[in-house]
Amino acid sequence: MQRGDYILKRTLFALLTVFVAVTLNFVLFRALPGDAVTGLKCHNCTIQFKTALRHDLGLDKSKWEQYVIYLKGLAHGDMGTTFISHKPVRGELWDPIKKTVAMIGLGTVFSIIFGIFTGVISAWRRGTVMDKLSVWTALAFYSVPTQWLGLMIVYFVADRVGLPHGGIQSPDYGILGNPGTYDFLVDRTEHMILPALTLGLVLYGDYTLIVRSAMLETLGEDYVLTARAKGMSNWAIVWKHGFRNAMLPVVTLIALSLGFVIGGAITIEYVFDYPGIGLAIVDAIDKRDYAFLQGAFLVLTLSVILFNFLADLLYFKLDPRVTT
């Protein structure tokens, strides 16, 4: 019954955070100068017209009333209308998000696998040249400004391996008639590889260090000495005792960090002109489309909260010691 309690507590906490996030989202964006009407580009708009429009859109009501309307709208999945194209925000978000998730997914998988691999080896070979090299390389990639790494990859790598500089679709796609699913996948993948690689390189360093640290902690535990005494080979110890235990904090940390991956994705999409949510955000910033930004950031905040929640659940499942 205690385990059920735990899940309940974490769920309530997550929901509470969601509520706080939604409210903050509203407050922050309403504080910005300009609203749907100021962003309007109409030539002959008189002040009366704008006032009337404001009234229609409910923008002259009190902040509290607007808040309530906002909440109601959210409950129905309505995130408002963009300033620029006047389309519903929700619709505008979906497509870019799909593209971003694909690219980020690829990059994150790479960074996690590579990070865990290098972290484990580093811990195993602690103090050796390989360890030091691994750690400093990880730190170096971690310190590199993401956008610069992207630029460097575009400059020095793209042409050499025959991959596109950016975008999501080659200009000659479909030029020879109807492209099939295979062609589609190939084309998409080609455009995803470099941005995903950039993301992977920028992220992996963090994971290497986390894994290495957790492994070292674990390998110094008494039960590792016992395992050695029992006759387990180094490899078996690292895998069955070290890795399994170290993964506890590592998994939670990785799950937590996933919520923040979007920050790096924004610059990467900008550099690679990849039409995901990141590029859409940059665009919206430039055009001061606060309605869109509000919707986009709400989604992002919610995903952070979701990942935190998943991290909690995951840790809970993996560690038999957690009962309260």
Binding site: V20, A21, S143, Y155, E217, L219, G220, V304, I305
Partner: protein
Amino acid sequence: MSHVTTSAELAHDENAVEGSPDMTPGRRGFIKTTLLGQPQAIVGLVVVGVIILIAIFAPLIATYSIHEKTGPIYAPPSSAHWLGTDDGGVDMFSLMVYGSRVSLEVGFAAALVAMVIGGTVGIVSGFLGGWVDTLLMRITDIFLVIPDLVLIIVVAAIFGRHLINIIFIIGIIYWTSTARLIRAQVKSVRERVYVQRARSIGAGGNRLIFKHVLPQVAPLLIANTVLTIALAIFLETYITFLGLGDPSSISWGKLIENSFLGNAVLNDAWWAVVPPGLAVTVLILACTMVGQSMEDALNPRLKVGHLAVRRFRMRPLHGQLDSE
């Protein structure tokens, strides 16, 4: 503690820098362990020192003015322009030299802001405990839920894109982790000192404890600040790249943005792209080296790994004749 007094532990006893943060050695010991124990700290300090010197003596080192066109657009490196020119015909080398100023300013100032706010909150929270502590920690949590980018956008929109605002926003983004760290440290120190002096303390006790808490907390605070400098510099390049930076100040981050907007890649002008990013990476790495060494000196990893990477060795007894 472990079963065998290994040589590492024995040697360590001489310096008596224990795992728990309460045995911070005297100030001299701390500096000694940090620097002499770890060559990377010295390397880091030298690099940062050199960059600081370059920033201070910028007018003497730069070869041209950075506010006027002194060469052709995107001219490659030559004896006249050591690092070529950018898309406005301005000398890259001089831009790099002057750029160090802004990057350093932002990094140090923002980290200072984070340290002051975070340190104060941490000390107050850890020291007073109770409802003050809970309240401050909830506020910290709220800050964590807000995506950094939102804060940046809001501040840029409401207060304008001035350098001072950027410094503050970075400081505000990073104060939370400093606060948590310091709070934990203060709490543990407070327990100890309080218990030790419980009898001898009268009314003025709190001030005495304060005088003892601060010296124990200071080294950790400094180490954390150095690491925050690295983060601040990183964030500055990010902010500038998205166009939310101060348009009138030239930092290395700005140079990266310029290279992107000026299509340096298409123009094959590597000299406009490579140097600023490289410089940022080097500076961040150097700060990380120093900060990490400090943290390691305060929390050395005493646990000896139990993996038998090297086996114990057998040797013949002195003067023992084989009876075989």
